[in-house]
């Protein structure tokens, strides 16, 4: 079997990226496989391509709903129609239709929530599942920075599916997390592939500042100096909105805000505009980036310190996928500590919320659990519901919840301290970052980090920004959309689309 030929045929690529071939071969040999591949290296290919060789269905469990949607649309766009995403985005009718016709799909993406439904599980048991993929597998582990309680049942579910060949994928996992993954999924004789998280073409810079005002001033300077396109990460939707507005006023490049508060239809347009270079700067929350394959992002700025090094690595990894010089700049001020602590505490249910939830459950008789979620965030609700369902009584539930919250808080504070220590430490940033992932810097690079020294000239703006879009005559626009000869005003997409 010639993997390269299949690669060309189905994906129009001429060669594999590092790691892909090894992982695919392992899966095809029927080995349970755990692969640690950095973001932007084409993880999805590792299970999509085997799908064209194995006979049965490929089931992909993913916790990231929007990423799932994007993957499905991208597969459809390249001509694969036997693919579906089974998640809460579907209406009840759509869901029923899909569940009835499960055997017609080759690739089934499914959210962990959906796998909690007995009805869904029964329908899936009838399929011949030849590859079971757990994406973002670090979510399984209590030690993971993004722990999802729903993931804990995946091992049991895998057993019910007759233990299909399993591929666990993640971009980031320490040794203990990797152990947790294999154990929880009941994987045997696991083949592990670990590829470096290092992205040598991304320079790493940390800038320490007094306060938010200084950060603002520095940001204004940087966006005018740096060559775009760029992504600026903020810790809140409100700040992303405010800075998009501000930067639109003071720069000559088009800027937009992107976060979960913006409607799906608009988010799709903003992604496309960014992809085609109609937008140069995205002021975003962490909601932006997953599933966006833009090759030529030249810089990523963090306006606040992220909550942990894993998130940081993922987010800066969105720069420079084309291999060209790019830069990641992190703004740090002491306020970031307080801010992150508040965010961490806000993610977990408070004592009052645990009480309120218990009361609500008492009065609702376990019915309508999903309607009255006012005052709870999605992640809080998910955790509360999960533990409530698993507890025998109220007392046990409260005990379980409290020890869970305690455990998570300690863990998150530990992760926060880790990134803060990294910021405060002396020495090569890249080397210190890689050490956290049990790696070492292999070669000395130019423009490595602020400690080793970088040449800012490399990142200076060369092309001139263009005017914010001009409104063209409506008849012209209509002709451009629908008439072939109306398309004389050429506009070429910036960067590669893949």
């Amino acid at each position: 079997m010639d993997l390269s030929k299949l690669l060309k045929k189905y994906f129009s690529y001429t060669e594999f990226r590092p790691g892909q071939r090894e992982v695919i071969e392992s899966v095809l040999q029927g080995k349970d496989t755990l692969a640690l591949l950095p973001t932007g290296t084409g993880k999805s290919l590792c299970y999509q391509l085997p799908g064209y060789i194995v006979k049965g269905t490929v089931v992909i469990v993913s916790p990231l709903l929007s990423l799932m949607q994007d993957q499905v649309e991208q597969m459809k766009a390249r001509g694969e129609k036997r693919v579906v995403a089974l998640n809460s985005f579907l209406s009840i009718e759509e869901r029923q239709y899909v569940i009835k016709h499960l055997d017609e799909y080759k690739f089934i993406y499914i959210s962990p929530e959906m796998l909690q439904s007995e009805h869904v599980l029964q329908q899936m048991e009838r399929l011949t599942i030849s590859l079971f993929v757990v994406d973002e597998a670090h979510c399984i582990s209590h030690w993971g920075f993004d722990f999802r309680p729903d993931y804990l049942r995946l091992g049991e579910i895998r057993n019910r599916f007759n233990r299909p060949v399993t591929l666990a994928l993640t971009a980031t996992a320490s040794q203990e997390v990797r152990k947790d993954i294999s154990r929880t999924l009941y994987m045997e004789d696991v083949k592990e592939f670990i590829f470096s998280v290092d992205r040598p073409n991304i320079a790493i810079v940390v800038e320490k500042m007094q306060n938010v005002r200084d950060k603002g001033k520095r940001l204004e300077k940087l966006v005018q100096f740096l060559q775009g396109p760029g992504i600026i990460y903020f810790s809140s939707k409100k700040l992303a909105d405010e800075w998009a507005k501000r930067l639109n006023e003071i720069t000559d490049v088009p800027v937009a805000a992107y976060h979960a508060g913006i409607g799906l239809e608009e988010r799709i347009l903003l992604q496309q505009q960014f992809l085609y270079g109609e937008l140069s700067i995205m002021c975003a929350t962490s909601a932006f980036g997953m599933g966006i394959n833009k090759e030529n992002v030249r810089y990523v700025i963090h306006f606040h310190t992220p909550s942990d090094l894993e998130s940081y690595i993922q987010e800066i990894g969105r720069a420079g996928r084309d291999g060209n010089p790019s830069i990641a700049i992190l703004f740090y001020s002491v306020d970031d500590w307080i801010l992150q602590r508040n965010l961490i505490e806000g993610e977990l249910p408070s004592k009052g919320q645990i009480e309120r939830f218990t009361e609500m459950m008492k009065y609702s008789d376990g019915k309508n659990l999903d309607v009255t979620r006012d005052g709870f965030s999605d992640s809080q609700w998910r955790i509360l519901k999960k533990y409530f369902e698993e507890s025998a009584d109220e007392k046990q539930f409260k005990q379980k919840m409290e020890s869970f919250v305690q455990f998570r808080l300690e863990w998150k504070h530990k992760k926060l301290t880790e990134i803060m220590n990294w910021i405060e430490s002396d020495g090569c940033r890249r080397d210190r970052l890689l050490r956290k992932f049990s790696e070492h810097k292999i070669i000395k690079e130019e423009n490595c980090c602020d400690f080793c020294g970088i040449n800012w000239k490399n990142y200076e703006r060369k092309s001139v920004g263009r005017e914010y879009w001009e409104i063209e005559d409506w008849e012209k626009r209509l002709a451009k959309l629908l008439l072939i000869r109306g398309n004389d005003i050429e506009k070429s997409p910036e960067g590669n689309r893949c």
């Binding site: 949607q69 994007d70 649309e73 991208q74 766009a77 390249r78 001509g79 985005f89 579907l90 209406s91 009718e93 759509e94 937009a256 799906l264 239809e265 608009e266 799709i268 347009l269 903003l270 496309q272 505009q273 085609y276 109609e278 914010y468 879009w469 409104i471 409506w474 008849e475 626009r477 209509l478 002709a479 451009k480 959309l481 629908l482 008439l483 072939i484 398309n487 050429e490 506009k491 070429s492 997409p493």
Partner: protein, 362 residues
């Protein structure tokens, strides 16, 4: 937010303290409850029904606070009134940004969203298809919309891709030219569309570049959609493709089961007394049914129940007293019973129109 506030103020003004601020919230959101539908009919607010379908309770509360702070409204014993300053501001806002004439939330709420989702996906698909490209990310992720578009394209058989694209272009050009001749910029609609090498803009971006309030922009946009649905249905031969995008449904508001049965008897020509006898129900119950029918069925005539002259008297009195309170109207017009007043209020806009027409003729 400014324009949304104006719409809220407009409702409160029409209510004149007779209905709560919450009633305005439900009306603007387009809640299909009996009470809200009656409010919209009695207080002549059908045109703004469902003009802010995504308004949240939080935003609504913020708007009320803002109106209070600006002293545009005042609260008196739980009743809410518009102040003179509020009226001034409202008039100024509506002068500057008139409520779009073609907007008809009463008729097209919900249908408009479906129309937009479908047409935006069709235009994108045809735009790529006609250039023999099939790889694109659809602007609509809703599977039901995608299934619909697939079927729609399958049914348009026999014409080549280029021909289909041209026909679609031609129909859109014609209908948008009509929009333009009414003084509305077709770009308010067109800039939203995506296609081959063209990415649509978001409402926020368009409103900003046209220096417009975003709520007002959305209202204008939906107004264009309503116009397109309306014209394409009226001129099916001219708009062969566009008229098939959404189906003309029955009435937007369904009658309750019991009222539906009463309605059937009425259509068979039975009188009120006969129906009371046939259905073995109280007279007041059947009267309730007929009022519900009058509110929900567009062309239902109340002439069999209320003499035309009395209809006009009730309209004149209730407009003069500026009230929709049954008792106040009845106190000034002893010859009218409550049933007649309720029926007339349910059709007040139609009757007023007829009255104006008669005045113009005479």
């Amino acid at each position: 937010m400014d324009y949304a506030q104006a719409l809220l103020l407009h409702c409160i003004e029409r209510f004149r303290g007779e209905r709560s601020a919450n009633a305005a919230f439900y009306l603007l959101k387009g809640k299909k409850s009996a009470q809200t539908i009656q409010d919209a009919s009695w207080y002549s607010l059908r045109n703004v029904f469902s003009s802010l379908p995504v308004l949240s309770k939080d935003d609504f509360n913020r708007m009320i606070e803002q109106l209070l702070r600006n002293r545009f409204i005042l609260l008196e014993n739980l009743n809410v009134y518009v102040t003179e300053a509020g009226k001034d501001w409202l008039n100024k806002t509506f002068d500057h940004q008139p409520f779009p004439k073609w907007f008809n939330g009463w008729k097209y709420s919900g249908v408009d969203e479906q129309f937009w989702k479908r047409i935006s996906l069709l235009v994108q698909t045809i735009s790529y298809w006609s250039r023999y490209h099939s790889d694109f990310l659809p602007v609509q992720r809703d599977l039901t919309v995608q299934f619909w578009a697939k079927n729609w394209l399958k049914q348009i058989k026999g014409s080549s891709r280029e021909k289909l694209a041209y026909q679609f272009y031609e129909e859109l050009r014609q209908i948008l030219s009509a929009v333009e001749s009414l003084g509305v910029d077709p770009n308010l609609f067109l800039l939203r569309l995506s296609g081959y090498e063209t990415t649509g803009y978001t409402p926020f971006q368009i409103a900003k570049s046209m220096k417009m309030d975003e709520d007002y922009y959305t209202l204008l946009f939906r107004g264009i959609i309503h116009y397109m649905i309306d014209s394409s249905w009226k001129e099916k031969r001219r708009y062969v493709l566009l008229s098939t995008i959404v189906q003309r449904k029955g009435d937007l508001f369904y009658l309750t089961k019991s009222s539906l049965l009463t309605y059937r008897f009425i259509r068979e020509g039975k009188t009120l007394d006969e129906i009371v006898h046939l259905r073995k129900l109280k007279r007041s119950t059947i009267e309730d049914h007929i009022v519900e029918i009058a509110v929900k069925v567009p062309n239902f005539s109340i002439d069999d129940y209320v003499p035309i002259e009395l209809q006009q008297k009730i309209v004149i009195i209730s407009d003069r007293l500026q009230t929709r309170k049954l008792k106040n109207i009845k106190d000034s017009l002893h010859e009218a019973d409550y049933f007649s007043i309720r029926l007339v209020l349910s059709k007040i806009d139609d009757i007023r129109k007829r009255l104006d027409m008669n005045n113009e003729l005479s």
